[in-house]
């Protein structure tokens, strides 16, 4: 009897079964790095004195953090992963054909159910939405896996999260994951795998599932896994495996395989905001009080997908961004940008007085494209609100989903979507 995480690790380490706490050498289906972590990986890879990466189809380099290059030093880092990718023939996406790694890889058909994916980026856990055992590591781990095709792991225990009932209008994946982190804390799932189940999870579209899996790391988890269902299969049919590989879906055998089971009433979850300076510092938006906001960011590997932009646009359409607010919209990939353009969402954002940027991680980690001054406050659909995360250590970041972010952009203070939307809009959702 085993969990999904245990079954995937066993299948990738040549063993019949593994147990939590055991160490295993695990074969990797995808090994990834970006423009910040990649240069360090390449430096360590070169120390290993191997000529080639283990499989160029399975090594992926994505320039996304400080891309398009924000300064000379960033340009040198981006060049390092570009040159390495050309030399080694590994998978690489250039600016203009790329996007934020965790939005890009699923839409390119590079990740899928039953795979082991490791990336030198903590939000690599995003691919758990597709049923992959995906986890973030550091540059040296990635260097070793680029050379050997495998990496050591400690088998995690699994915590099951069950959401009974249906979600309220405007409540999405971000509200669910913030609700969990607010409940269990930012080390509440430390070293563990999270599994998400229940009616509300089954009803969620893939984009909402990516958002939840993405922030598993914000509870300290190693990965966040979803069951493969008809929505997963439809997503894979629309984004077929790039190299034609076959995927495999796993299920946990029984509830007794979990270290812990935590259950929630999904209908009780309201639009949620994480106040500074921890993702666990959550409040219902209705309890937020009067917090004036200087900037709103809608985008990132957490909430930069098409449906996130659709939600934001539905609230900004025919309305104006508040005069005291800068609203920055960042589509998560070139494809998302194109689809948003075709659907008229980009025009909606521009008409509302928002600025629309090329895909980049940019402001999420305080890189560029929306840095905060001392004393400024930002509502952001990103994933972390630590001290100094988006700029000055005296600035404040409030994390929320796209509905709260867009509503806040209109009112100028932290607001739920109900504050700006008409009853017809609510009924339509």
């Amino acid at each position: 009897m085993a969990t999904v995480a245990e079954k995937i690790i066993a299948a990738h380490s040549g063993r019949d079964s593994v147990s939590p706490g055991e160490f295993a050498n695990v074969a990797c289906d995808v090994v990834m790095a970006n423009d910040i972590t990649g240069p360090l990986s390449i430096k360590e890879f070169n120390k290993l004195k191997v000529d080639h990466v283990f499989d160029p189809h399975k090594v992926v380099m994505v320039p996304d953090h400080f891309i398009p290059n924000k300064d000379i030093a960033s340009a040198i880092q981006a060049k390092a992963i570009r040159d390495f990718s050309r030399e080694q023939g590994c998978v690489y996406y250039e600016t203009g054909r790329a996007g934020i790694e965790h939005v890009l890889l699923p839409e390119q058909g590079l990740v899928g159910p039953g795979q082991v994916v490791i990336g030198a980026d903590s939000h690599t856990c995003t691919y758990g939405a597709l049923g992959a055992f995906a986890t973030g590591m550091g540059s040296t781990d990635i260097a070793v896996a680029m050379a050997t095709g495998d990496i050591w792991m400690k088998v995690p225990p699994t915590i099951k999260f069950v959401f009974h009932g249906a979600l309220q209008p405007w409540v999405g994946g971000k509200d669910i994951i913030l609700h969990i982190i607010g409940d269990i804390g930012i080390d509440g799932a430390l070293y563990a795998a999270m599994e998400f189940h229940g009616d509300a999870i089954h009803q969620l579209e893939m984009d909402g599932r990516f958002t939840i899996a993405n922030m598993a790391i914000e509870a300290g988890a190693k990965t966040g896994l979803f069951s493969v269902d008809e929505k997963t299969e439809a997503y894979i049919a629309a984004h077929p495996p790039k190299w034609g590989c076959s995927y495999k879906s796993y299920t946990t055998d029984s509830d007794s395989d979990y270290a812990r089971i935590i259950e929630y009433d999904a209908s009780a979850i309201e639009p949620t905001v994480a106040f500074p300076h921890l993702p666990s510092n959550t409040k219902k938006v209705s309890d937020a009080g009067d917090v004036a906001i200087d900037q709103v960011v809608i985008g990132s590997c957490t909430n930069g997908r098409l449906s996130d932009l659709q939600v934001a646009a539905s609230l900004l359409k025919g309305r104006q961004v508040h005069q005291n607010v800068r609203c920055i919209v960042i589509p998560g990939s070139q494809r998302v940008y194109g689809e948003a353009l075709e659907q008229g969402l980009i025009k909606t954002f521009m008409d509302a007085g928002a600025v629309v940027s090329t895909p980049t991680c940019g402001p999420c980690l305080g890189g560029y494209m929306g840095i905060l001054a001392p004393g400024e406050r930002c509502v952001s659909t990103t994933n972390r609100n630590f001290v100094g995360r988006m700029g000055s250590p005296q600035s404040e970041v409030y994390l929320a989903g796209p509905a709260v972010a867009a509503a806040t952009a209109v009112t100028g203070h932290i607001s739920g979507p109900a504050e700006v939307s008409s009853t017809q809009e609510v009924a339509a959702r």
Binding site: T37, L40, K47, K49, A73, S122, L190, G220
Partner: protein
């Protein structure tokens, strides 16, 4: 090997964004990163720290991003080891991989103050607070991880593995 140094003490959830803010991640050289280590939560850290000093913190040290630049920045400051109640998962791997010693020992953390002098016997996991005359034993590493530590980090460990497989 025995380490000796002064304590710099912090609380829970010291994240990688404050260990080394992302605005400095356009380079990866440890000495350059060290110039900004901890600056957003402890502006004087860089002036106070001396070679061999130790960072002591409560739970979930190193939470947040996967940036290996965080343990590199700490190591670049001359910090000899980090002692905490617990460590975030990726930070833990990164520190082991690059050879920054970490010790999990809640008792040693709770009983020391900033400025205390600690001596750490890494092979025995023994932490002695010479200011207060107390001694504690940290949680031992699993044998698998000791292999990586004894090899001098993951790169050296892997080099040996690759050499063995070729011979």
């Amino acid at each position: 090997m025995t380490l000796r140094g002064k304590v710099h003490k912090y609380g829970a959830d010291v994240d990688t964004d404050v260990i080394i803010p992302a605005r400095y991640l356009n380079v990866s050289d440890a000495d350059l990163l060290a110039e900004h280590c901890m600056e957003d939560i402890d502006a004087d850290f860089r002036e106070r720290k001396q070679e061999g000093d130790m960072i002591v913190a409560t739970s979930n040290f190193g939470c947040g991003s996967s940036r290996e630049h965080a343990p590199l920045a700490i190591k670049g400051c001359g910090i000899s080891c980090v002692i905490a109640h617990s460590f975030a998962r990726i930070f833990f791997r990164n520190a082991i991989n690059i050879g920054l010693p970490l010790l999990e020992c809640p008792e040693a953390v709770d009983s020391c103050e900033a400025g205390d002098i600690l001596e750490v016997d890494l092979s025995r996991g023994e932490i002695t607070n010479t200011t207060r005359g107390t001694t504690f034993t940290a949680k031992p590493y699993p044998e698998f991880m000791m292999g990586i530590i004894n090899a001098g980090g993951l790169v050296e460990h892997t080099k040996r593995r690759l050499e063995d497989s070729h011979s």
